[in-house]
Symmetry: C2
């Protein structure tokens, strides 16, 4: 098979945070299994991180240390540079650029870098004849990159959706299970280490959007287009929304959704959505990630696993290294650069679907009539309504779901509703996705 070349594959690891250290440990612990499975050893030869003195739990005595990761990428005795520093620019970018310039393959977990600079990096790698592998960049424990590039490659994928951020899913799951508020659960997640001190990348949907841009590129054979992803986070999801959703038969999940329309245009969005309780994605709880793809021959496929964490991420990095060691490769975005599609972007305003809206309305005659008139004028039909009187307040919550309508009509209606004097807070709108 591919084991004719049995020389060790030499690896330089840039970044020795918990992920980088776990990659080094994995390659040591599983050395004989890896050598058996890919026909040659994979050995770390060089490492780089800021603090040289820290004990990272592995023997570094035979490894060449570089203080400057970018220099290591150029000069180390290595076939592959593993970039696990992170960040869309700066040192991570320099490491990848230098590795490519020096003719080395790159394995990276860096979703931000590839989502934003993927096109340039792909061109440089193509010109240099090196591989850029990034299974660890999206939903680490789930081999979804390989599934899209190889396992499901005989299909035209028309849509995919996924839970791509474990922090958000943990927060939404905990809010549902405990009835507690967003801010409270976020603070706990931070204390437990499930959320960063500055959580905005996660909870505002940016991290999920980076990953979605990569999945959409692969699924549809395009360059990643992060700038055109509609992004909305979970800060505004209230405990009430979660319980109303449950009453209506739904769970609230932060989903990344990518769809290709018949005309070839592609829609990409990361938003909280209501999903029917009996769909596979609704059952994915806590820090787990999942991606559901739909292909024309294979139908729906669900891949679920841990999205982050040292072990799953290191597992994905090592799988990419094993592919390189065994001589297995596929183009960075599924097809060669000159075969990529370049269709239009489909804006969120073109969406058609159902909607959930929660209003705080004054508990007096005529309010419902005003709302109903606005919805009628916007050609929106009410699917269900929940209203309960609250004795201690002048304003009461009113929850409506709307039958399928256009996003443009819905936005128009929300603007008009906001202008009503009888509505005391901005309306909370959450899209409903049934994945029929």
């Amino acid at each position: 098979m591919s084991s004719s070349d049995s020389k060790p594959l030499k690896i330089a690891v840039a970044g020795l945070g918990t992920v980088g250290a776990t990659v080094v440990k994995l390659l040591q612990v599983q050395a004989s299994l890896i050598e058996a499975r890919c026909g040659r050893p994979i050995v770390v030869t060089a490492i780089s991180a800021r603090d040289r003195t820290k004990d990272r739990g592995f023997d570094a005595s035979n490894l060449v240390w570089f203080d400057d990761a970018a220099e290591m990428a150029s000069k180390a005795d290595a076939d592959v540079v593993v970039e696990v520093i992170g960040g869309s620019d700066g040192i991570a970018r320099a490491v990848v650029d230098n590795a490519i310039a020096a003719g080395r393959h790159v394995v990276t977990a860096n979703k931000a870098l590839l989502a934003i600079h993927g096109a340039e990096i792909a061109r440089a790698a193509d010109a240099a004849g090196v591989t850029i592998a990034y299974e660890a960049a999206v939903a680490g424990g789930i081999p979804i990159i390989k599934a899209l590039k190889e396992g499901l490659a005989a299909n035209r994928i028309d849509r995919l959706h996924g839970i791509l951020n474990g922090t958000c899913n943990y927060i939404l799951t905990t809010m549902r299970q405990t009835g507690r508020d967003f801010a409270d659960v976020l603070a706990e997640a931070q204390a437990l280490g499930y959320a960063e001190a500055d959580p905005s990348f996660d909870i505002d949907g940016v991290d999920a959007a980076h990953k979605l841009a990569l999945l959409a590129a692969l699924a549809f054979g395009r360059l990643p287009d992060f700038a055109s992803v509609t992004v909305e986070g979970i800060r505004h999801i209230a405990a009430d929304d979660i319980s109303y959703a449950e009453e209506l038969g739904y769970r609230i999940k932060l989903l990344g959704i990518a769809e290709r329309a018949a005309n070839g245009s592609v829609a990409q969005r990361v938003t909280p959505v209501l999903v029917p309780m009996d769909t596979p994605i609704a059952a994915v709880e806590g820090v787990y990630n999942a991606v559901v793809t739909h292909g024309d021959f294979v139908g729906s496929t669900v891949l679920e696993g841990r999205g982050a964490g040292d072990g799953p991420t290191a597992s994905a990095v090592a799988a990419d290294l094993m592919d390189i060691a065994a001589g297995r490769s596929s183009p960075m975005f599924g097809v060669p650069l000159d075969r990529l599609e370049t269709g239009q972007t489909c804006p969120i305003s073109a969406r058609r679907g159902e909607y959930y809206v929660r209003l705080m309305v004054q508990d007096k005659p005529g309010v419902f009539a005003d709302l109903a008139a606005i919805l009628r004028d916007c050609d929106i039909s009410i699917g269900s309504a929940i209203q309960r009187a609250r004795s201690d307040s002048a304003a009461v919550p009113l929850v409506l779901t709307m039958h399928e309508t256009s996003e443009a009509s819905m936005q128009d209606a929300l603007t008009r509703i906001t202008a009503l004097g009888s509505v005391s807070e901005p309306p909370r709108m959450i899209r409903i996705e049934k994945f029929a």
Copy 2:
């Protein structure tokens, strides 16, 4: 990349049932996508089936027809022979043997052939330097073979379990949803085409056991050992069992389970089991298949999709062909033949776990005392009990769950209970699996 060789990959298809015909159609419909993704065209050059006159929905005018599939495997102008005839011996075996002898790669959906003769076939293929690919043989729509060989390859897998037979899962799901009996639902499944006229391969667990033997081989780096799989089907599952299970917080699924013990011995079994309602596998319903793997670095990964049907199976066959076209390969059972493990088989009698038992007992004093004494003598502790009086019958159902005990103790207890005069039917025992 691997596209330096851009000559078409030539395919001979043995067997033009619905799967074979769909493979040919897929390769025609997706021709440009396939060529873009794997760097060269994949073209069918030869076909073979019994009936030459049947319209199969594709243009066969440019294809060379062979009446004898085994002859085609030897003589066709083809790089790869696709075997979708089925059956562990006979013509399917001859096709595969002849293809290997002629130096052609083989892509097959034939789980029975590989589970039973996989060792011999692997040795012959290894000697001939050809690839045997079989993604379609296990849970067609799920790229689980590739996941075990490549995506999760950096992990030591210690256990896996899966719903591997869509017919059984459809029957169990429908029984639960409708409360109807096994025989009734089976007859309907046969009428709908979800079950064969002779359903025994499916409902007695044999088909799932073939697939489990292949998954266990891959997960643990061994040759398939179908003979040592404990197999028990779903004929004896009563509607009552399903509703009692639900009352206790479980669903009943036919699962294939493979586990590697610390001493390297491997347990393989296909049996109905009670699984907690909130586990991912319990949520997999209808004709869907799913496989849950557990690796030391990655943790739990769940892959779910359609297990059978023309489209998913053809998708898997085509993915294997695309790997061959792109020059991607990995050893048939994950590691080269001389690196396979040869540990002991762990018999079902060594299992430890919880158990569900349903008895029909006479509704009179002392019966429960007799049962409790037997369980005590077998060192088995009762976890829960459900008994409801039935006015119209001398015998009443008694459902017990047992705390963790050994299979040997449980079998001993069941033998003694059966001998009691006060128990009017053989006890129905179903294992409980919690996958903690």
